[in-house]
């Protein structure tokens, strides 16, 4: 069971977290891995904290990742990367969109949005890749494609076939938004963290 890849996707309801995790799942399946993916719908989606669990490998039973066992965390929002960080394993990787979306307690002025999250992430996790995916997505022609920019970056760090990623994007995304998403994926794929 140690050969499995555990990938946690975290974000805010409405950011396309489920869609992104399905794209990875299809790419993994195309690459010959057994895949289990767990998502949550309904009440949790309405601007709430959303997390999906993706497990890929040979013998995958549980669809859930246990704390301290995620190889990779992908977060479409800073605070969500920080919130779910205890799920990462020693030596794991974090890919994070630098965007900040204030949650209700912050909007109301009851709590502060924690400062210096990106710096603290890097301090804890040397393998942290942070990028402004929203800006890249806008440049690609669709601001909703920020999640796919992050997938591009992920793809450049995993050894799935690139054709599998393209096939997965085509399988999951509606045809009319495919073009800007393919562009967004390329932006992420060629992203240089330095």
């Amino acid at each position: 069971m140690n050969k499995n890849i555990n990938l946690l996707l975290a974000g805010v309801g409405g950011q396309g977290t489920i869609l992104a995790s399905r794209i990875i799942a299809y790419a993994a399946q195309c690459s010959g891995l057994t895949v289990k993916l767990s998502e949550i719908h309904g009440m949790a989606q309405r601007g709430g904290s959303v997390v999906t669990h993706l497990r890929m490998g040979e013998d995958v039973y549980s669809p859930l990742i246990e704390p301290g066992t995620a190889d990779i965390i992908i977060a479409t929002e800073q605070l969500e990367a920080w919130r779910w960080l205890p799920y990462l394993k020693e030596g794991g990787t974090v890919i994070v969109n630098s965007q900040q979306i204030p949650p209700v307690p912050v909007i109301l002025g009851l709590k502060e949005y924690p400062s210096g999250i990106l710096e603290r992430l890097i301090k804890n996790v040397p393998q942290t890749y942070s990028l402004n995916a929203l800006e890249s997505a806008r440049a690609a022609g669709n601001e909703k494609a920020a999640n796919v920019v992050l997938l591009g970056l992920l793809a450049s760090r995993m050894d799935f076939d690139k054709e599998c990623w393209e096939e997965a994007l085509k399988a999951v995304l509606p045809a009319k938004i495919l073009e800007p998403n393919l562009k967004a994926f390329q932006t992420g794929y060629h992203y240089n963290n330095e």
């Binding site: 767990s38 998502e39 309904g42 013998d59 039973y61 859930l64 209700v104 109301l108």
Partner: protein, 586 residues
């Protein structure tokens, strides 16, 4: 064989297709909704949203008696609504096979309770199947239909959120067994007057004896021998957690937990030194095991509420931690603000709750996105029990305490009103109530992902249909005062509510405005002119995610890309400091 990734829900729909289901009916409810959405994609299946689960099951009964293989789906609490037909349908039995899917929600990701419907199967005396992944979800639909037809009985297929909403690989097959059984007219079987029902009950008990023999023989229930020191009995998603945490132990997996496979359980218990049972929620299997006089450890170490996971199994049975926690520096969980769900920017419900709070009314609430009106900062809801309860509860309050007359309003959505609000409204009208019912009509079933309902003008199969007119419906129920108003006009909202609440007669207010997620066009975003702003933060109390209260800078800002331009913040601002972008003096 082609393998494809599917959620449990997609796989159940696929199973319905492959195993010849002709009719499928449901009312949407998390985590069951996507089953019917996917079943509707197959031309060979007639699929429909019924107004509620009771009607859905009754449609299913009719379809079965007419000879078709039939699928009826609902969330766990939906089975409460459908319980009346279910309990007697077990007596009549089926003609075409019928599968009732109950999608339970341990952990209450999106539900008002976490009842365990395995108990419902036993209570109704119908066989119960529990799949453990998407492949089984598909296969078990076929087996359930076979059992249903072989034993002349409806079958419950129970999933949980982690089965319904997890994806795993499924091998696809072709559609088979597409025929209809002959529609037989048989009053003694299908008319449940006492004389006939007594006979049917006796027959049902006889069927259950045969079904118990079946469950002891079927490969749905099977032993996986491993280390004999520890044996674990489990089913559904918990089986996966056991295999993940303790791959070496012996396991008895129950794909068909009811009727309980007694002899198989005895054989397993005799073959292991220490016996455990791992199950979420109720000690359902545990009680069955104990009734056999066997010793077993279950709920003394596992919780009666919430979900189980592999870590918990490892810790409680394996006696060690599953993983090492990551050592983190400068990490303080208490500084991480929670991110609860919230009404979307532009949501037409927001203004109504803002006014209800301002008027300090007692609000009996209901089930839908608008239940979020109970959370800060709106905090304008006092009760929420089940679908449609807002209306009866409002009437009960005013009947109990005359001082509450004119202070209680019921708030209910359009889809929920069609589901269970009609009879409550009839009760208010007939029993001389004075309560005001507010119907938040956003022309969709929003919470579960925008399903059609009788008021939308379209069916699940996307055929145009005559939309039920809420005004006509409410008037026909005997309500004389019916007002239609715009929920995005706060002055109008306040006026209408104040007048109707003060009226000694019962009344219904229908606030009409489509769900913000269904309106493609965004209005011009609002912007705060900082020079004009008095920083009273009234606009913040709308609880709009597009509005940020920066307490350090002492200013309120609008996040332009989130704002839908609904204009509520502009209306509540006493300083005229908020304007639509493009309308300022700059």
């Amino acid at each position: 064989m082609k393998k494809t990734l599917m959620t449990g829900n997609e796989a159940i729909a696929r199973g319905a297709y492959e195993y010849g289901v002709k009719v499928a009916a449901a009312y949407p409810g998390t985590p069951s909704t996507e089953i019917l959405e996917n079943a509707a994609k197959y031309d060979e299946i007639y699929a429909q949203w019924s107004p509620n689960e009771k009607v859905a099951l009754e449609v299913g009964i009719g379809s079965s008696l007419a000879g078709a293989r039939t699928l009826v789906t609902m969330k766990h609490v939906g089975v409460n609504v459908a319980a009346d037909p279910l309990m007697t349908f077990a007596y009549t039995g089926v003609n075409g096979g019928l599968v009732l899917v109950s999608a339970d929600d341990p952990g209450m990701h999106s539900s008002q309770n976490e009842q365990d419907n395995r108990r419902f199967a036993k209570f109704a005396k119908v066989p119960l199947l529990e799949p453990g992944d998407s492949q089984e979800a598909k296969d078990f639909v076929g087996l359930a239909l076979e059992i249903s037809e072989q034993f002349d009985i409806p079958v419950m297929l129970r999933t949980t959120t982690r089965i319904s909403h997890s994806m795993s690989e499924v091998t696809l097959g072709e559609r088979g067994n597409d025929g209809l059984q002959t529609c037989e007219r048989n009053a003694q079987k299908y008319v449940m007057i006492p004389a006939y029902a007594r006979v049917r009950h006796q027959l049902l008990e006889e069927k259950l004896v045969k079904l118990k023999e079946y469950s002891q023989e079927t490969p749905l229930n099977g032993i996986e021998w491993g280390d004999r020191e520890v044996g674990v009995i489990s089913s559904g998603i918990c089986y996966q957690y056991v295999k993940e945490a303790l791959p070496e132990v012996s396991v008895l997996k129950l794909g068909m937990p009811y009727p309980f496979p007694e002899s198989l359980v005895r054989e397993f218990a005799a073959g292991v030194k220490k016996l455990y049972v791992v199950e979420e929620l109720e000690p359902y299997l545990e009680e069955e095991i104990r009734a056999l006089g066997l010793e077993v450890t279950g709920k003394e170490i596992f919780p009666l509420n919430g979900e189980i996971n592999a870590s918990m199994v490892m810790e409680k049975i394996g006696g060690k931690a599953m993983s090492q926690a990551l050592k983190l520096t400068d990490y303080r969980p208490e500084e991480i603000p929670l991110r609860p769900p919230v009404m979307c920017p532009g949501c037409p419900h927001r203004g109504v709750f803002y006014v209800l709070k301002k008027l300090d009314l007692i609000v009996t609430g209901d089930i839908g996105c608008y239940t979020l009106g109970c959370l800060p900062p709106l905090e304008a809801m006092d009760t929420c029990v089940c679908m449609g309860a807002s209306i009866g509860v409002a009437l009960g309050m005013e009947k109990a305490d005359p001082n509450l007359k004119g202070r209680v309003v019921a708030v209910i959505g359009d889809s929920t009103f069609f589901h269970s609000g009609l009879t409550g409204t009839l009760d208010i009208a007939y029993n001389l109530g004075s309560s005001t019912v507010i119907i938040l009509d956003n022309r969709t079933t929003a919470m579960t992902g925008h399903q059609e309902h009788p008021g939308t003008g379209h069916t699940l199969k996307n055929e145009p249909s005559e939309p039920a007119d809420l005004v006509d419906v409410v008037k026909a129920l005997g309500i004389k005062r019916v007002v239609v108003a715009d929920p995005l006009d706060l002055e109008e909202v306040e006026k209408v509510i104040s007048v109707e609440v003060a009226s000694p007669e019962s009344s219904v207010i229908i606030f009409e405005s489509p769900c913000a997620l269904m309106v493609a066009e965004k209005g011009a975003a609002a912007r705060v002119e900082q020079e004009e702003c008095g920083y009273c933060a009234d606009c913040v109390s709308l609880g709009c995610p597009a509005m940020v209260n920066d307490t350090r800078a002492e200013e309120v800002r609008v996040t332009g890309e989130l704002c839908r331009g609904c204009g509520l913040c502009i209306q509540v601002c006493d300083f005229d400091a908020i304007q639509k972008a493009g309308e300022s003096g700059e």
